[in-house]
Symmetry: C2
């Protein structure tokens, strides 16, 4: 099943929701207006549709394999990654000074969606490398930067995040890997890391492991963790690759999905110690790791959107092709393609609305990131930073959870054929299942949303979002279309539900933490649902205006229909979530542990 | 991961919700009181926990395989099936006259859950055989019955349902397999059938294919379909197995889940015609097939409950074992098993509440089936038949859809380990995915609910259910516990939402079929949600009474907590579904097909 990047929808969001032409007025983004966005996305689509997407099924059938410490990736991956690197795609969002193209995240995120929709497993390698680049840019010494950044940005080398250990998953305070200072200023690293995505592979000359470890004598818990660069091959002062470092891939996992992406168990220091270089200062490792993780969390949210869109395209193609039964409204005298049946339309509309809603949310969040880093006005930067930070758990948590619903519906649309692996729909269902887990489970995102993003400021950032939504409601109230009225009704109810929950969370997080955290994931789902629906409401306002001017009417009408569907069928879930959170907290923790 | 049958919960439902001692007063069920239920379930648990459950993982890793027309099942399956047959389990619910035990469905369904929880793939063989037995009992001639029934009931032979063809899935009117009458009264059958569960295997001496085909000259569509018995080996008048019939398994499918269950493509008549015997009358095949299908639909609903419970047990065990992070309420000074974290509790409670709710619903439906067939009073039989028929799409549709949610949460509770196949949680997620598809997709169940079960009688049967729920509300209103008050609030709101939807469906199904059918699946989900919640509300009333008398207090308190959780977190979804159905119908079908 071929993949077609949804350029029209992406460019609509980039132009009308994210305001790319405003972003292009910010220092450093002068070249990054709408025309650039369009040109880059077209090129990106061409490469990924042609080169990367065809390898998706191949990766599932012929996963990466391990033998004697060596990982061989799926046939075709190495060549495709070479083309990816040569095309300059790894450097898209990174600074020009280190060889990147310095484009806004608003454009980069769309390219990320295209790459991930083409091939989730393949895309993970660049995704992790982006994280490593971010961490070095922020906390690396000049020497580290000089040694590693250009190689990573060019795609010559790749990067990994080494956090998890068997006993330390969500709870990184339990990390045991240790680093011993050496007289020459380097460290020797010893320990076992698991779940290391692309921890070993054959697609690049070197692999740069950003690794959490504890220096002897460091405080217990998360405050005693440091970050190290541990390359697969040692790197000389001249930047040349030297001998093999003492880090070995002892196995890779047999997984439900994303099978082409090797998930490594790495053993550090079994032969005298792996040579590592400290990043930044000792004991600040978690802080630096969060830089990588925040970039990665946003990117994983985009993965959810990507796999959802791919599943949607697959399901639409089948539904237009598969003939079965006459439509219930008597509009056809013979069996029809199943897309004419109301429930198939309902499933496809659900898939479409969730995907477009999350895409709109992620695009607007990216624009906030760009403004937070490039806007000349400090106050505007601050507001955008606050908004972006509020959005990260929603983009990660909601988009990935919705991808489970969408890929499951994708199977369902195919009926019995959906359960047959050859059809391809099942791969998306399997692949998507990791997304709400890695880079912080949905519960971890929700803890972040409750703790750092809501309780800490007494709900201020959350209420600022609600305030912005009210503005959209006022605009909707000024329209006289049935669609705008329908959207207004559900958006208002969902926003009110959200505000109730924010107040509940803010007032309970200290006094009744169990009650606040019992509602954390439903709160995240409600907030994500609302923000995605809000962005589709904004889309509807734009689409009505453009349609009335005769601009691309079929597209605008579809956008209006999608926004209305989202409001009536998905935003409609919000009040029920509010009730569960605000009135049902006690029943979550009422039952004794022994009774389970 | 071992499996432990939830006997306490099953027996609670059988005694207090289904009223087994009332069933035992009906003619033919004199031996089937509570003590019998308990004894049978204990024996069933022992067999399945010990023999069948350990083969579940094995079946996933070492699926049934095909070579040159021969299917070899997973090692151990053949022996286990022999024990199953020898134990008399195949005959549990079938008449004593054909070698069965004649037990009520109320007991049989619980045994079915245990078998399916132990091993979904294994259980499919008996499940399909049950369907074949039902069809022959209802429509078979005395000769057919004499030839086949005892062999099927004893488990010596197994049965299949041959409906689907490549062009005829949900739409059986498109069946092309043809049957040519022969001078001796038999037929020669020609055609291709796909998705035939246990269509070929090595676990029994013979396989009895109940096969839909068209006799030459029959009317087009569903009214020209007849049902035939086509055995794998021809059967002589003496009941002995003769030569191989002309039906061949040309391949089996490579599936997402239930891998041990061979899904066959069967080729009939490639060498002169497969010998078939007509069941009942020509052109009434679909009617007979519906007998099999209705039994099978209920049984597939039970499969959903079964796999959900297995996933729940797996997740609870992990959550009690895995230590990570300190509880947010400060109740522990060190890292704790993750079951102490509110969101893990929320996930486990959701899994538990959905599973127990659906189990209660299915048990009560089974009791109605028993009363519909055995109650001495014709009017009572009729009422129960109406209730049972209303329940079948809910048991099938809602229980299987909820099993997707539950098995997905089961993966999530395991975090990263959930995505690793060795952990086992992923198998339930994959296995469950077929359940809302086969024996009629959720949309097909919903069409049945909308068309035959709601619109046809103007919503009478539906409103009779609502009336019964009001009685439970009145009982809840007489209690002064916080749990009863909480349940009353949500049950009332959900019941009102349901009544609104029933009226909407009944009044629109003829005039605006697109609107009615656009809401068909959400209506099914709302109705299933409501009925399961209602049964848990009834459970709460019983549990409060028994707890006050000091009977098994920990169990009763857990039941009360589960009922309250269900009401506050799952019944709370109902009003949103109502809004989507009643106010959002138009946006489902608004978008032009070309715009997808």
């Amino acid at each position: 099943m071929s993949y077609k990047a949804p350029l029209n929808d992406m460019l609509f969001d980039i132009r009308h929701l994210a305001g790319i032409d405003e972003i292009a007025k910010m220092p450093g983004f002068e070249e990054a207006g709408f025309d650039t966005a369009q040109a880059v996305l077209e090129e990106c689509a061409k490469f990924n549709e042609g080169v990367v997407a065809p390898l998706n099924v191949e990766g599932d059938r012929n996963p990466s394999s391990w033998k004697d410490g060596v990982v061989t990736t799926t046939p075709g991956f190495k060549q495709a990654f070479k083309q990816y690197a040569e095309g300059g795609w790894q450097g898209l969002q990174h600074p020009v000074e280190v060889g990147g193209q310095g484009l806004p995240k608003t454009i980069g995120a769309a390219c990320g969606e295209i790459l991930n929709a083409a091939n989730l497993s393949f895309a993970l390698c660049p995704l992790l490398t982006d994280g490593a680049i971010e961490a070095l840019l922020t906390a690396g010494s000049d020497e580290l930067k000089a040694t590693y950044l250009e190689k990573l940005v060019s795609g010559q080398w790749t990067g990994t995040m080494n956090l998890t250990e068997p006993q330390a998953g969500s709870d990184l305070g339990l990390v045991r890997t240790r680093a011993e200072p050496q007289p020459d200023g380097t460290y020797k690293v010893f320990g076992t890391k698991i779940f290391i995505t692309y921890g070993e592979h054959d697609m690049a000359e070197n692999i740069v492991h950003l690794t959490l470890a504890r220096v002897a004598g460091a405080p217990e818990g998360v405050k005693g963790i440091s970050l190290f660069v541990v390359p697969k091959f040692k790197v000389g002062k001249d930047g040349r690759i030297g001998e093999r470092n003492d880090v070995q891939c002892v196995s890779i996992e047999h997984k439900l999905g994303i099978k082409a992406s090797p998930t490594a168990v790495l053993q550090f220091g079994d032969h005298g110690g792996a040579e590592g270089v400290l990043v930044g200062q000792e004991n600040r490792g978690l802080e630096y790791m969060f830089i990588m993780m925040n970039a990665a969390r946003y990117a994983v949210g985009v993965q959810g959107i990507a796999v959802a869109d791919r599943a949607y395209q697959h399901a639409v193609a089948y539904a237009k092709d598969r003939v079965q039964s006459r439509p219930v409204d008597g509009s056809m005298s013979a069996s029809a393609p199943i897309i004419h049946h109301p429930d198939v339309k309902r499933m496809l509309m659900t898939m479409r609305a969730l995907t477009e809603g999350c895409r709109a949310m992620a695009t607007v969040a990216a624009a906030a990131y760009d403004a937070a880093h490039h806007h000349p006005d400090a106050e505007v930067r601050k507001q955008n930073q606050s908004f972006y930070e509020f959005m990260v758990p929603l983009v990660k948590g909601y988009s990935t959870e919705m991808s489970l619903e969408v890929t499951s519906l994708g199977v369902q649309v195919h009926g019995g054929m959906g359960f047959i692996e050859e059809t391809g729909a099942a791969q998306y269902y399997r692949d998507a299942r990791i997304l709400p887990i890695y880079e912080g489970t949905t519960a971890i995102q929700a803890n972040d949303l409750v703790g750092r993003k809501t309780a800490r400021d007494g709900g201020q950032a959350a209420k600022a979002v609600a305030k912005q939504i009210e503005t959209t409601e006022q605009e909707l109230a000024g329209r006289d279309s049935a669609a705008a009225r329908a959207v207004l009704k559900r958006l208002t109810a969902a926003r009110q539900a959200f505000v109730d929950v924010v107040e509940f969370i803010a007032s309970n997080s200290k006094t009744s933490p169990n009650a606040a955290f019992a509602g954390s994931v439903p709160y995240l789902m409600l907030a994500g649902n609302l923000v995605a629906g809000w962005q589709l409401a904004r889309s509807l306002l734009v689409a009505e205006d453009l349609a009335s001017r005769g601009e691309d009417k079929p597209f605008m009408q579809a956008k209006i229909a999608t926004a209305q569907f989202y409001a009536e069928h998905i935003l409609a879930r919000a009040p029920g979530l509010r009730d569960a959170i605000v009135e049902g907290a006690d029943s979550v923790t009422a039952m004794a542990v022994d009774a389970f």
